[in-house]
Symmetry: none
Subunit: 86 residues, 3 copies
């Protein structure tokens, strides 16, 4: 049994939106950070195994990083919106 | 049985924004930290396997680290905004 | 049975900022800690496999550790700001 009483004027939308902003960028940075690590690890090992293929590997690594980075930027945009847009 | 009563005027926006700032940089550091570890691990193993490819591997390692570091800096920016911007 | 009553004026901004500071450095240390472990593991295995490549591996290991360490320092700075800056 769980009794939860939130009395008045406590958890306003404005109060929770700053907590939401912190969670948005915090969790939103978690995935892309790990993802960039995983994909770049694979790319760098591939360059080490076959250095002549460096241009192709580099191009595709940057392409993939850009997509992962975009996800982090989505989280950043939402965090800034939660903070600054009423 | 859990009874939780939050009485009035407790969790103001200002109060939650400092908690949000802590969560933002805390969680936001988690992903890039692990990501840099993963990609540098791959890079260093590739250098060990093929030391002649060191310049290409080093260049791409630093490039990938910069993108991962950027995500941590997004989290830092949001944490500082939550702390210092009303 | 757990009864938790948070009466008024308890969770002030100051109260939550110390919790936020703990979360900031706690979670912020987690990622870089694991990351440095991963990359040093890769470096040491690479040195074990190919000891002649030690200078290149060592240089790049220190470089990558510095970037991961920087992320932990961001979390430290935010934690200290949350604790000491009103």
């Amino acid at each position: 049994m769980l009794g939860l009483i939130l009395a008045q004027e406590i958890l306003s939308p404005q109060a929770l939106s700053v907590l939401g902003a912190g969670l948005a960028i915090g969790l939103g940075a978690l995935g892309p950070g790990i993802g960039i690590g995983l994909l770049a690890s694979g790319a760098l090992q591939a360059i080490g195994r076959n250095p002549e293929a460096t241009p192709q590997i580099q191009l595709n690594m940057i392409l993939a990083i850009a997509f992962a980075e975009a996800i982090a930027i989505y989280a950043l945009v939402v965090a800034l919106l939660l903070k600054f847009v009423a």
